[in-house]
Structure formats: C-alpha cells, structure tokens
C-alpha cells in the first residue's frame, strides 16, 4: 500500500490547457464554423437619448446575401431579468432592458435592429443601410446631478432617475463626530472603466427543428442562468436548451452575463433554422458590454488628534447607466458593504443612491464595488494622515480591527434599510498588514523616497488596505465519477481563463489520492452538468472545491458497507478506497457520487497594497515603479496560479488608475471606443507585481479557502492614487481615481490644484 500522496492542495501544479493555448489549437467562439452558418450584425443607436420614430430595414433587405433583418416589432416585448435575487427591487425591475429598443434609445450603442447575412462583411454593409429615424432628447450624463437636479428622465414612465436608495447606520455617528478633534471632508469621484477582455463577446446558436433543441456556444460565467432564460424566452423546455462554454479569452466579470445579443442570436437561429454567429467587434464592445465603477461620494471622516478614526458619513451616487442589467443593483449594493473596510469604527452612516444616466449600463468588473469603496475610504484615510501629519501606515495600523475582536460585525442599526449585515469571520488584519509592509520593505521604500526627493524627483508611496467579500452561495453541486486511472469531476462553475480546472483537479486528486493527471474536470456543457451558478464573486474554487470534498465523503459512505467498516475508517489510497487490514475497493466500483456545498453569506478576506510612484510634473505622467500586494486567501490551493490571478488583477487596476477611462462628451457620445482611446497598459508601463499570500484559514468552509481571483484589483486604485498624491504633495489634490497624465497635468498647472474635469 502506498503512502497517501498528499500535498497537492497547496502545490504549484502547472496549469492545464497551456499546451493547447501555446500551439494555437484552442477553440474560441469565433473559430466555430457550422454548415450553413450565417452572420448577425447589430444596428446600434448613434444617439445617447432620442425618441425612436422608426427603423427601416427595407434597403438592407435588398442587399444580395442578406437573409433577415429584425427590429423590436418582430420580437416579443420582453426584458432581460436580474440574475441575483438579492440585487433586485421593484424599482430596478422597472428599468430593465429589452433586447431591441422600441420607442426610445437611451445610450449610444443600444441595439435597435439586427441584420443577418451569409457573409459577415455583407452583414456589416447591410447594417449600415438600416435607417434609424431619431428625435433627439437631452441626455442625462452626470450621476450626482442625475439624481438631484436633472430635468430630463432617462425612463420617463418610471418618474425618477434614482432607482434605489440604500441606508446603513451603525452606532451613534453624531456622537462620534462630536468627539472628534479633526474632521476631513471631500467629494471623491471614481471614474468609468471597462474590463476589456482581449476577446470580444460572441455567440453561435443552432436550432434543430427535428429535435426542437437549441444549442448555444460561447456561454460563460453563468451558463445555467443563460440556459434558463433562453428556455423561457423561446418557450423551449429546459432540457432542449444547451449552453456550451468553449475557450474564453478573458471574462473579468463582464463576459457571460446574458445580454441583448444572447436573446437575439438565439431567436434568429430558431427563426431562420440556420446556425447564426455573432462576433462583437471592438467598437461595439466598448459601447455594448457592461461598463463599471463610475460613482461620486461625499465623504467626511471624524478622528481624534491621536489618529483614532471615530466615524464617517458618506453620501454617494452610483451610476447604473441607462438600464439595470442582469447584475441588478450590485453597483450600489457592493460599494456599501465594502465602505467600512478593515477599521474599528465607533459609528458610521452611509446613504447611497442608485442612479441612471444615458450611457452604457454598468455591471460588475473584477473587484466590483469593493475597488471603488476602497479607493474612496483609503484616499480619505491618507487625507486624514496628511492633516494629522502621521505616517499613513501607522494611522492604518492603529485603526485596524484587532485579531482578538474576531469574529467582528457592524450590525445595521435603526434607520438602516434592508441591507446585508457587514460581518468578518476572522483573520489577523494587523499581522497581515505588517507582513505586507515587511514583504514590500516599506521602511526602505520611504528612505528611497526621501533620496529621490533630495534629487528633485516627485516620488510618492501609496498604501491601501481593504476587505473583500467573496465566495457567494447559494451552493454548488458536483458529480465525481471514479474509474481506473481516470476520475471525472463535473462542476457547474466556469473557466474564464483563470485556471479553475487545475485547482479543482488538485483538490480531487489529493482527497482521492490519485495522480493529478488522472483527474478530468468537466464544466463546459450544461447538457452534462445539470446545474450550477457559475464563475463570479471569486466563488468557483471555494464552492466547487468544497462540493468535491462532500462528494468524496459520500464515496466514503458508499464504500464503507462494501468494505465492512465505518465511513471514518475508509481511506483513499492509490485509486482505491481501503479499510483497515488489507481490504480495498476500486473507485470505479463505488459508483458516481454527488456532493453539494451550501454557503450562506459572503466570506470576508483582508488585503492591501503598497506602491512606489514617481510623477513627472512636466507632462503629468505618473509611473508605478513598484507594486506589492498581500491578500488573505485562507488557504492557497495553487499558489502559482493564485499569484498569476493577483498580479494580473493588480496590473488591470494600475492601468485603470494611470491610463484607462471611458470618457463621454457633453452629448453623451463615447470618446473611448478603440484601443487607441481606451489605453490599456503594456509591459513597458507596468511593474513586476510582488505578491504576498496570507493564509489565515476560514471557519466558513471545510477546506478553509477564501476568494482570490479578483483581490489583486481591490487595493489598486486606492494605493496608486495615494502614491500619486504623496508624490505631488501640495501641488495638486487627488480627488479622482483616475490619475492619468491629462488629469494630473491639469491639476498641477491650475492655481487651485484641481482638475477642471473633476469639478
């Protein structure tokens, strides 16, 4: 009998799939070619807000090769629903999007028609011949004024541009402010960003009139929800709809939610009884796929002269764009639960509005809500540190919730609305914070900063600390099928390029004591995986991993009577279940088992980031010279993949702070619709991100895992903004999460030290 293998959970196992991706063999949705396939092109609104007087497709239909052109008149009056019950409200449900606009267009890029042709070039030509008759309306463009004073309504029938107001009260905030020696107040702005995976969205749908079945390729993230939605919209039985995930070129929260196109392509495939392919182009992607992050917050922070942070008040406006999409009110719900962060407040008061503007709808992008909230709070903490002339690290350390107070909660008090209570299960924030600073060499960073300043450079150090809530339920179920030399795990999560199949294989291989290469993880096809919730909120490894552990326990229970022992005496050794003595039964003889892991609430993890920044005042360019982050992942299943996730997320955040911004002009025309305008960082603009993995375990699941796929983003905007603020000092006040050269140059060259774009 061989010794248990062990050690696979926590090992830097190489990522699966790499060979296929390195040789170009991976199949992405645009690579699918079916017999008789036709190509869809969406006609989109050129206006931010207008009455839609008519859509004329007759000229497009005359183009040789065009097989169909549809408008809202050709489809049922449906709305795309909210996916998460806790992100719904009657108000949000009143402003959902139809697949095609009928009477009013509400953002540039809103679908108004679809043209289908036998060649994608012809489809594009014909789409340009669709005539869209518009009567322009005033656009609503600013989140704060949208709520407070706009004369124009984004949805006239709803009667307001505010679709929700969340209130959270904890402690006696007036008393906290009354005790304060110092109060700092600012209005902070979080700028509009986009996830921009390298692969745009795309779909292929095929309807088989013989069997009455619909197959859709290109699903991702929430395949089972998409399947249920398509089954309802098309009036097909659930078992007749199959959603298949192929290789995915990055998701980051935006890909794989059902969008208007998912419904349109499926409807067209059934109507035409031909396979229909739709591949988004980059211009479309920049206006059609969810945007993220834009908010404004009036924040005041009360503290004692000794640096004890007593309380805060925040009034914020969170933009949802022109419609509420599948993620519902998450753009306002998530910032709220993340605003208090890791500090031991006596009291706070939060009021956040969900507002509408005539721009592309806002959804979730890696680290949603938490990245915005962390920027706002952490920027204010640094403003307080400057006011008190304290070191920002000392100020934070003094206020972190101590380990002996765990578990900790800010239970909502009187005056709160229906909000999720903010609860932290565990962790040692002070220890983790110091581990991050030691890992980065914080003291040395400060010495180097002083040296750089002595040389006349504008050098800064920026810090942020955060709480990330992740690993949302309600549950995942997996099936584990044992066999000789082959164990199959079927899971309802998804892979968006993050390598979840490798991590899940490690868990199954360790628990069953089989070689890693013997484990196959299947998650691609809803026909084979009966249910699942998907890949979001850094939940896949936590939920499906623990479900695998449950399925292995079930195998133990099934094997016990076969072996004539109790389940606790069953051990897995080398592909068999064994009992004390010499008895064993092969995994293949145990039969498939199912495991289910249910999870209530969210798991909180602590983390932070520290960076060195230099600014060239002549052109306003900031450079992040070093970026070090730490994140408590509970237990790292695969530290190598985790590092890749954390560093990659941080790279996106650094790009978001320094270069990227979805800008609009005063007519609501988007100004960032190509990669020449929406500038993502390259290797030349990024540091080699340094990662410290903290493993403080977690009592909330048997494997002790917390989320890790998004965390690298969470502290990034705050740390970079604080580093830039430290570098420019009194030269400019940093009040926006965008510290691009344009914003910074304006701020540095105006006597008020403010960027006009922020006012």
């Amino acid at each position: 009998m061989s010794a248990p293998r062990g050690g696979l959970i926590g090992s830097p196992a190489p990522r699966r799939k790499n060979r296929e991706l390195l040789t170009g063999e991976g199949t992405y949705v645009a690579d699918i070619r079916l017999e008789g396939q036709v190509y869809a092109r969406v006609v989109r609104s050129p206006s931010a807000h207008a009455r839609l007087l008519g859509v004329d497709t007759s000229e497009a239909l005359r183009v040789p090769g065009v097989v169909a052109a549809i408008t809202a008149d050709d489809i049922d009056d449906i709305r795309i629903p909210i996916r998460l019950p806790f992100a719904e409200s009657p108000e949000a449900n009143a402003v959902l999007q139809a697949p095609l606009a009928a009477d009013v267009v509400r953002y540039v890029g809103e679908p108004v028609a679809v043209v289908v042709a036998d060649d994608p070039y012809v489809a594009e030509d014909a789409a340009e011949l669709v005539s869209v008759d518009l009567e322009e309306l005033e656009p609503v463009l600013d989140p704060a004024t949208s709520a407070e004073s706009s004369r124009t309504l984004v949805h006239e029938s709803f009667g307001s541009n505010t679709i929700g107001r969340l209130a959270y009260r904890y402690g006696d905030v007036d008393a906290a402010f009354a005790q304060a020696d110092v109060v700092v107040r600012r209005r902070l702005r979080v700028h509009r960003l986009a996830a921009t995976p390298m692969e745009t969205r795309g779909l292929v749908a095929d309807y088989d009139s013989g069997s009455g079945g619909l197959t859709v390729w290109g699903g991702a993230k929430v395949k089972h929800f998409t399947r249920a939605l398509l089954s309802r919209v098309l009036g097909l039985e659930l078992t007749k709809v199959r959603v298949i995930e192929v290789e995915v070129g990055g998701g980051f929260g935006t890909r794989g939610e059902p969008y208007p196109e998912d419904i349109l392509v499926a409807l067209l495939a059934r109507r035409l009884e031909r396979p229909v392919q739709w591949i988004e182009d980059r211009w479309e992607h920049m206006v059609a796929t969810n945007h993220a992050r834009e908010q404004e917050h009036d924040f005041e922070l009360a503290a004692g002269a000794d640096g004890r942070m007593l309380g805060f008040r925040v009034r914020g406006w969170c933009d949802h764009g022109a419609y509420v999409r599948t993620q519902g009110l998450l753009p306002v719900v998530l910032p709220m639960v993340h605003l208090p962060g890791p500090y031991e407040w006596q009291a706070f008061s939060m009021d956040l509005d969900a507002v509408l503007t005539n721009r592309t709808p806002v959804g979730t992008y890696r680290g949603p809500g938490m990245t915005e909230a962390t920027f706002v709070r952490e920027r204010m903490v640094d403003i307080l540190a400057a006011e008190l002339q304290m070191d920002p690290a000392d100020l934070r350390r003094r206020n972190l919730i101590p380990a002996e107070s765990m578990p900790f909660s800010f239970m909502p008090g009187p005056g709160s609305g229906a909000v999720m209570p903010i609860m932290y299960q565990g962790g040692d924030f002070v220890q983790a914070f110091d581990q991050m600073l030691d890992g980065a060499g914080y003291d040395r960073m400060r010495v180097e900063q002083q040296q750089a300043r002595a040389d006349g450079q504008h050098a800064g150090v920026g810090i942020s600390a955060y709480i990330e809530f992740a690993a949302v339920g309600p549950f995942e179920e997996v099936e584990v099928i044992g066999g000789a030399g082959n164990v199959v795990v079927r899971a309802g999560v998804g892979s968006l390029g993050q390598g979840v199949e490798t991590a899940l294989a490690q868990i199954a291989a360790e628990l069953l004591d089989v070689p890693l290469t013997d484990v196959t993880v299947e998650f691609h096809d809803t026909a084979e995986v009966p249910q699942g919730f998907g890949a979001f909120a850094s939940r896949s490894t936590v939920l499906a991993g623990n479900a695998i552990a449950a399925a292995v326990d079930e195998m133990r229970a099934v094997a016990a009577p076969l072996l004539g022992c109790g389940p606790d005496d069953v051990e897995f050794r080398g592909g068999a279940a064994t009992a004390p003595g010499d008895r064993s039964v092969g995994l293949g003889d145990i039969g498939p088992t199912r495991g289910r892991f249910e999870k209530e609430g969210l798991t909180a993890s602590f983390g932070g980031a520290v960076c060195s920044v230099s600014v060239n005042p002549a052109d306003g360019r900031a450079r992040v010279d070093r970026f070090a982050l730490a994140h408590d992942v509970g237990r790292a299943v695969n530290p190598r993949l985790l590092r890749g996730q954390l560093a990659g997320a941080a790279a996106q955040g650094i790009g978001g702070a320094l270069f990227e911004e979805i800008a609009y002009d005063e007519h609501g025309q988007p100004l960032s619709v190509t990669f020449a305008d929406y500038m993502m960082p390259t290797a030349a603009e990024l540091p080699d991100v340094e990662v410290t993995i903290i493993e403080h375990g977690s009592g909330s699941n048997p494997l002790g895992i917390k989320g890790g796929g998004e965390a690298g983003m969470v502290g990034s905007l705050g740390a970079v903004a604080n580093g830039v603020a430290d570098a420019v000092g009194a030269g400019a006040e940093v009040l926006s999460s965008s510290v691009s050269s344009a914003h910074l140059w304006h701020a540095l060259h105006r006597p008020t030290g403010h960027d006009p774009g922020e006012e």
């Binding site: 390195l22 170009g24 390298m198 290789e247 390029g497 590092r643 990669f675 390259t682 290797a683």
Partner: protein
C-alpha cells in the same frame, strides 16, 4: 491588366502559409487575418481589428506584422508563418516553453500574437538587449497578465537562444 473588382467578387490568391502553398478565393477587401482564419488558421485572433492589440500578429517574410491591417490579396507571393508552425511535433519550441515556465499566459487569446512577435525578434535581432526586448513586447496587449510575465519569457528565450542558438 485586369479591371477593378466589385466588393463581392473574388480574386484567386496564392498564400504560402507555414511552408505550404494554398490557393484561396477572396473578395479584394477581405483582410489577411480573416482569410487565414477562413483557411482554418484560427490561431490568428482578432482582438481589435484596428492594429493596436497585436493578437493577429503573424510573420510575413520573417517580419512580425498585424494581419488585420493587411488585405489577403497583399499576401500573394509572401512567406507567411503562424503559430501553428512553431511546435516541433509534440514538443513545444523553446519560446513556447519559456511562456509556459513564466506563466506568461492565462486565457491564451493574445498568446499566438505574442509568440510570433517574439519569434520575429529571436530571428532578426538575437542580440537584442533588455530595453529593445521590452520595446518590442510592449507592441502587444495582454489583459490577463499585464504582459510583464511575457517580457520575462522573452528575456529567457533570447538568453537561451544566445547560449544555444
């Protein structure tokens, strides 16, 4: 000389791809990237179709070019290479192996373009120094890794090539 072609008419073009010559019929406005993809070379990936992201990078007579910015008819008479040509049977090339070792890929969408970009550097400037390698690597975009690991892979691949060309 033949007259002008209508957008919907096709021209016969002979493309030499990865050492094999193939005749394709393409409308004159079809991009080289689309024509290669239509011919089954789907490692040529389209991330922006306006020449910024570099996911469609191929070698044209040994030089890295954006195939989304060329027409298929311009490919006539040139020697085209795509990532399908890099691996030697079951074995990865040293450059591909350097990507694997440095975790220089996650979703894999941008990977073939980066590989061809750096392959061109390996052949044309084997002595390239760190700054030049960074300059070349920063031609393309990688959203998953930020491309710093791609830069590390390129450094390793060029160093290994100098030691053992």
């Amino acid at each position: 000389m033949a007259g002008w072609l209508d957008p919907y008419e096709s021209a016969a073009v002979t493309l030499t791809v990865n050492g094999a010559s193939r005749e394709v019929r393409v409308p004159p406005r079809r991009t080289l990237a689309d024509a290669l993809r239509d011919a089954g070379l789907t490692s040529v990936r389209l991330g922006c179709e306006h020449g910024v992201c570099g996911s469609c990078t191929i070698l044209l007579d040994g030089t890295a070019v954006r195939s989304c910015l060329m027409l298929a008819v311009q490919g006539q008479g040139h020697d085209i290479e795509t990532v399908e040509s890099l691996a030697d049977g079951d074995g990865l090339s040293a450059l591909q192996q350097a990507f694997d070792d440095n975790d220089a890929l996650q979703c894999g969408f941008c990977t073939p373009g980066f590989l061809m970009l750096i392959e061109s550097l390996l052949r044309s400037e084997p002595e390239a120094g760190r700054d030049r390698i960074l300059e070349v690597v920063s031609s393309n975009l990688c959203r998953c890794t930020g491309a710093v690991p791609v830069f590390q892979a390129a450094l390793d691949a060029l160093a290994a090539n100098r030691d053992d060309p």
